[in-house]
């Protein structure tokens, strides 16, 4: 992610303004290869290193958490230019300010855990 600049706040701004194909290229390539790979994994019932057939769990059903949670996430993504993975990669690159973002994300996660029963899912 560092080398392709996917961790860059600037690239995320570019993405949300549709001013470059770059980020869409990264995600699109990953998904294209992913779809084909998962197809073969399932078709041939491939096994993991413990000899168990690979089972990829389905995501929980329901649209509300995706739209509401997703929108909140997306807002944060635009502000910080980072989703969870890049937060830590940027820290490794020397941007200490990401420590505060990481603290924020941990508190945000905690807040969700506390309030989740009151939220629409």
């Amino acid at each position: 992610m560092s080398k392709s600049e996917a961790i860059s706040w600037y690239r995320i701004q570019e993405m949300f303004r549709f001013q470059s194909f770059h980020m869409y290229g990264i995600i699109g390539t990953a998904v294209a290869i992913g779809v084909i790979s998962i197809f073969f994994i399932k078709k041939y019932q491939l096994k993991d290193i413990e000899g168990k057939v690979i089972v990829i769990p389905d995501k929980e059903k329901g649209w509300k958490k995706g739209i509401f949670g997703g929108t909140i996430f997306g807002m944060g993504w635009a502000v910080t230019g980072a989703c969870p993975g890049p937060m830590f990669v940027n820290l490794g690159q020397g941007y200490l300010a990401f420590l505060l973002i990481i603290v924020g994300a941990t508190i945000g996660t905690y807040a969700y855990g506390v309030f989740k029963d009151k939220l629409p899912h």
């Binding site: 949300f16 649209w63 995706g66 739209i67 807002m75």
Partner: protein, 185 residues
């Protein structure tokens, strides 16, 4: 050869490597999803006593914490050994848009104007960083995943809830970028 690795990598290389990570994870009996690390961190800090959501055996998720540590190391290595020192090649239109918001493009990964350490010590900088993080943390847990879990793994597995989440990501990101940024910057 080293110059090739030190130059920025094209999107198809990155996309392929991300997919490879996801597939490797499957072969280790895991799934690729980064945001659950925050849930694990909360649980490890004792949040399980305050909310049922964090009351689980977080030690089973240590493999993902290792991935997290690896990503910090990866960032360090790439910044210090795999960098060619050239400025990021950003679209002209983006540079212009950021200028009109008062944000200067400095050719680095992130604008020092917003992510320089001094921002920890002024109120606007501090709040932007903290609230940005809060939104990502809360939103990803609520949606049940972030870009790795939904946009990459979920979409590759043709999961409708993941498509809905990704649509949400974009609604939020576009609203913030086009409607709210002009108000706060």
């Amino acid at each position: 050869m080293l110059e090739l690795i030190q130059a920025p990598w094209p999107w198809y290389v990155s996309g392929a490597m991300i997919s490879l990570i996801m597939i490797l994870m499957f072969f280790f009996g895991k799934t690729f999803g980064f945001s659950s690390n925050f849930r694990t961190i909360c649980a490890a800090c004792g949040a399980g006593k305050k909310a049922k959501f964090f009351d689980f055996d977080w030690k089973t998720q240590q493999w993902n914490l290792l991935f997290l540590i690896g990503s910090v190391i990866g960032g360090y290595l790439s910044a210090n050994y795999l960098n060619n020192g050239q400025p990021l090649q950003l679209a002209e239109s983006t540079i212009a848009d950021l200028n009109s918001l008062g944000i200067t493009f400095d050719g680095m990964m992130n604008p020092l104007q917003l992510f320089g350490t001094e921002n920890l010590f002024n109120l606007q900088g501090f709040l932007t960083l903290l609230v940005g993080g809060l939104l990502v943390g809360f939103g990803s847990r609520y949606a049940g995943g972030c870009t790795s879990g939904h946009a990459i793994t979920g979409l590759s597995n043709l999961q409708l809830p993941s498509l809905i989440a990704v649509i949400g990501f974009f609604i939020g990101g576009l609203a913030m970028t086009h409607l709210i940024f002009p108000l706060i910057f």
